[in-house]
Symmetry: C3
Subunit: 328 residues, 3 copies
């Protein structure tokens, strides 16, 4: 028997490795997000297309849904659950997914935005900012649920605008008590404003740049600018600067600034990744992170990798990781 | 590489839209159930077939399993999880799925039984009745778990009998305290009787009718009759009447009656849906609902829609919804 | 439209039946694990392959993830979540899966290691031992999470060595209070040793044997030897002996011994399964189990079955099961 006719593409990533971090035992961990996804595109004629994507995220070392702990875990389709239309006007989608800022910034992060401890995406690259402060416990920090997503076409082959707007719906956040320096957040709070995210990207193959602005459900603001250049095809150099403003919920020292410099260098079947960055929260000790990585392609779908990083703030954490990354 | 040989059909629905209800903010919501399913049929020879179906249900706006709230959510395969055999004798299946009544009534509901707020399925169409009063919190109200399902063949091309019988297994319900007018329900209660559901349907293409009787795990009873007629191929008129009897657990005013009138009218690539109905619980204020909907087909698999409804009981709720519905 | 190109095999099992056990009502149950899996193999050239496997486990009677109860359930990919490489050196994998012992012993269990009440796998075949005493509540007892898996090639076509090593990571176990005869187990405990499992198997088609040793996260030890022989192709006779030593956490009577004798006999499209075994925990009443089963193949993928067993310890439990088992 053969597969019945349908219109679904199943895709995914399994990434597992051995990791060692200052102060913890050798562990089985991951470098990238682990995915099992279902997606499709339907041609509706006249240049119009319907599209959907559903993406499960899981932990390869334990087999659970991402970030499962007791009663809490991320959504089944943590990666995204979206449906929409694409045409001459661009792409409109509804559901849950990365915000315009979060989707655009990964091209300027030396680990391409994967959540490796050696990478910068989950902390320095976003100046400690979270896109979803009112999601359920354990949820990820870079997505909007209950959102409308719009991308313009790529204008002139180089320029694109992206916007994400979130409905003012409560989404099950836990209560956070007030502190001497911050306001209280009640449980299952309705956003105090309509959260949104805007990004503009330009990319001519050799040079790329991005500017973004985002305001989340607690009215925390995030500005970001980033650029990359390829002096030779094998080398990509990148830089970004971010600023988070928590002034709406924090009384003093509410700004956090960060910058990252990175490089990717392709040598034969291998790729070297390097980065250095700093995060400077007002009135708190600075975080400095230096990272080095290496990927060796066994095929177009599979590579083995090696990561190392040194992150200094109040304490210093060294990290080493080695593993395998397989796309299907 | 290509898909390895197998015998699974993957199918599903992604439906998301923008909704507005009296007293709440504009939200991202759904009109239909969102599905990701796996099913197959194996030919065993001599007219015998083995069949299975597993259907995930999820929320497109947040990416979670259907109805997730804290520790509670519906089963992963909320839609159904069944395996069985089909032959000259009909179809026998074991597992979880819609009861005979619930599966038969949707053909007589103007929104085809989808859970749109503008539709009637989840409230008026069933006279407020639930098929599964002893399921875990948040579970759906129209399925039997731990059940045996039997459908006769379609006799003479028009007539079919359907029966569902549930085993007397506890299924993790929460305790409900007694009130002045109702008995207490202990936690994880074993059904006080063997729940079952029966329906008879007749359908010659132009005229269809149904009669059903169901008794749930708390011995609440449901009677239902329904009919539809197509005076012209483009027009389907339908009507149904239901009565719920909660006399086993409620002391007074234990009956609820309801009736719905509906119409579907196809115009070109569009379909107009209309309905009016009333639910009359003994001794409590009547519910009156009027609804209007429109579907516009972009293809055989994809349509956009518009729904509006007005529901009056102690308070009045107006609802508007607009969105996209995509099958894959 | 047809499936887009990819490299995933979707497979699974749906098994549901009617069961009756001493002291409980007739129920809808299962005989085998119910699976929905995704797996793939990529040829990397030079005899090297990348491989992954993700296996959902679920309850067919209720549609939930396996063993769901309130906030607890088994991982989404309870069956396994592994990625690795295969070559002349054997197979290395990382993630979650059956331990070397648990994977090897099923060939010597008359029900092939399925969890039917009539089978021996979950109790007598493992002398009451659990491979994962520090996993979250409800988790299965025969897998390592956070583990490294190694299998040698099948040497000379008959001989294989298998090893599983678990990282010393906490995995969310619930606290267990001390008793007069056992130590306390704190919540979310880090393994007191590096858990590992070793097995050696030999199989020339007519004769097979296995020896295994395993030590879990609480330093409980398990020894096992097993053998099978096929005097004629239609008949397989098997025997095994196991010993569990809980001396690290239990003060007295810490050993449990067990043995099982079994037979599988193929007659036409049918197979007869038979077994008898005893489990002898020090100082506690012995368990004696006798079982008989019958499978009738409707096709290569589908069979119907009948199981019966009698299990005597402090009380006696009779079990009967009849159902359908469908692979896809």
């Amino acid at each position: 028997a053969a597969y019945a006719q349908s219109s679904v593409t199943i895709y995914g990533t399994v990434d597992a490795g051995v990791t060692k971090k200052t102060g913890t035992s050798t562990a089985i961990g991951k470098r990238d997000n682990n995915k099992l996804g279902f997606k499709g595109v339907e041609d509706l004629g006249s240049g119009l297309k319907a599209l959907f994507q559903l993406e499960i995220r899981y932990e390869p070392d334990t087999g659970t849904i991402e970030n499962t702990s007791g009663a809490n875990s991320r959504p089944l389709f943590q990666g995204q659950s979206r449906v929409g239309l694409q045409g001459d006007f661009g792409t409109v989608r509804l559901g849950r997914g990365l915000t315009a800022f979060q989707e655009s910034i990964t091209a300027f992060e030396p680990w391409s935005g994967i959540p490796s401890v050696a990478g910068y995406q989950t902390d320095l690259q976003v100046a400690g900012y979270t896109s979803s402060p009112l999601d359920q416990t354990g949820n990820s920090a870079n997505r909007f649920s209950n959102a409308f997503f719009y991308n313009t076409p790529v204008i002139g082959g180089v320029f694109q605008l992206n916007a994400t707007i979130q409905a003012k719906e409560a989404n099950g956040n836990a209560a956070v008590a007030a502190t001497a320096n911050s306001v209280a957040i009640p449980a299952n709070m309705v956003p105090s404003t309509t959260p949104y995210s805007l990004s503009a990207t330009v990319d001519n193959g050799q040079f790329a740049a991005m500017a973004a602005y985002e305001k989340n459900a607690l009215e925390t603001k995030l500005w970001s600018v980033a650029a990359s250049v390829k002096p030779i095809p094998a080398l990509k150099l990148m830089a970004s600067y971010q600023k988070q403003d928590q002034g709406q919920t924090v009384f003093t020292n509410y700004d956090t600034k960060s910058w990252i410099l990175g490089a990717n260098y392709t040598v034969g079947a291998g790729k070297i990744l390097a980065g250095y960055g700093q995060k400077t929260p007002d009135g708190v000790v600075k975080t400095k992170q230096a990272s080095l990585g290496y990927e060796y392609n066994l095929s177009a779908r599979t590579y083995v990798y090696l990561d190392a990083s040194n992150k200094r703030a109040a304490t210093t954490v060294n990290f080493y990781g080695v593993g395998i990354h397989h796309n299907f």
